[in-house]
Symmetry: C2
Subunit: 193 residues, 2 copies
Amino acid sequence: MSSPKLVRFFKNSNLVSPKAAEEIASTFSPKEIKKNNFLLKEGRVCDEYFFLENGFIRAFANDIDGNEVTTNFYSSGQVVFEVSSFFNRTVSKENFQAIVDCEGWYITYEQLNNLFHSMHDFRDFGRSILVKGFSSLKIRMLSMITETAEQRYDTLLKTNPEIFQQAALKHIASYLGITDTSLSRIRKEYTKK
Amino acid sequence: MSSPKLVRFFKNSNLVSPKAAEEIASTFSPKEIKKNNFLLKEGRVCDEYFFLENGFIRAFANDIDGNEVTTNFYSSGQVVFEVSSFFNRTVSKENFQAIVDCEGWYITYEQLNNLFHSMHDFRDFGRSILVKGFSSLKIRMLSMITETAEQRYDTLLKTNPEIFQQAALKHIASYLGITDTSLSRIRKEYTKK
DNA sequence: TTCATTTCTTGCCATTTGCCAAGAGCATTG
DNA sequence: CAATGCTCTTGGCAAATGGCAAGAAATGAA
């Protein structure tokens, strides 16, 4: 029995037929991740193409000094996986951790490829997920170069308020490319306005 | 008559058969771009999936204040196109400009999709290009967050020395996320060592 | 509830980087 | 060759951000 939300997710893309959407969704298996547990740990190969139905996930890497750097946040309705590790079958440098209890649906790399072969249109869907992730990273990169930390904070607050309800400020700070100290100061200035 | 370099490019990927590599390459058309001319201008839809055989291309966007921000550099042997504009058929916010006289080979969006349908394996190749671009942007983003400007300069110098032979320092500066003034100072300090 | 731990804030000071303006160095053009 | 316009460098100063440490606040565990 597959998830109505998952079916809708595929249908809304308009890249697969309604019938195909049902069929694709039916190959996904349910998966729960309890708060603080990991969908993926660094050093392992990502083998789950995971649709997050409920919950919140943070992706992070460790820099040279051992500090955690948040690379992304995922809220419900998004596909969560480490692109490079998953498609290249290489070891991941990133961790994906549930910030709250999560529920979702996944398929493995093998299952995904089977779907690509059997469900022609699903490839376009898969590509669109990739393209979307790529584009948003490009936008983020540009804002990193052209905007101040306060502007980036402001944008994140307006476009992704849910992040502030779920994630710790220190995790948001490294996502914004600043220290938690700086974020704290920015917030102080910000509330004055 | 197709390019031996292009054929080799496909073969080396190991994602398409030698025979397919020949066939795929044969659908590409030659294209020259003279120095300072554009492969793509902002406001237009990217419709060329371009293999750069010789030359050097810079991609850039304009920020709010009208400053050019270099988003990428492309040297020979790379595929050059704006992912989001090309696949989503949307208007590009980026420009791709030849820094020196360039030669290469291209196919249109339509031709690419035809190839995807007729040459099964070519899809995997296309995906690998996408994944590669995504991964390197992720790495760049991480270095943007965790490293100082001088460290980023050092890495770029060691991993992509050709960029310094081709591009203007002010263009490299915005690629590194700093002003040309800062880059100049960093280089001054750097040569002392 | 109480204790321990983690997160967040704040102050102080150092460092990095940006902004502006001037000048030097180069290349292009007429 | 001279004039013009870029690019790059440099100096002075301001603003943004980081590092460290202490304390407050919030959270989680016993």
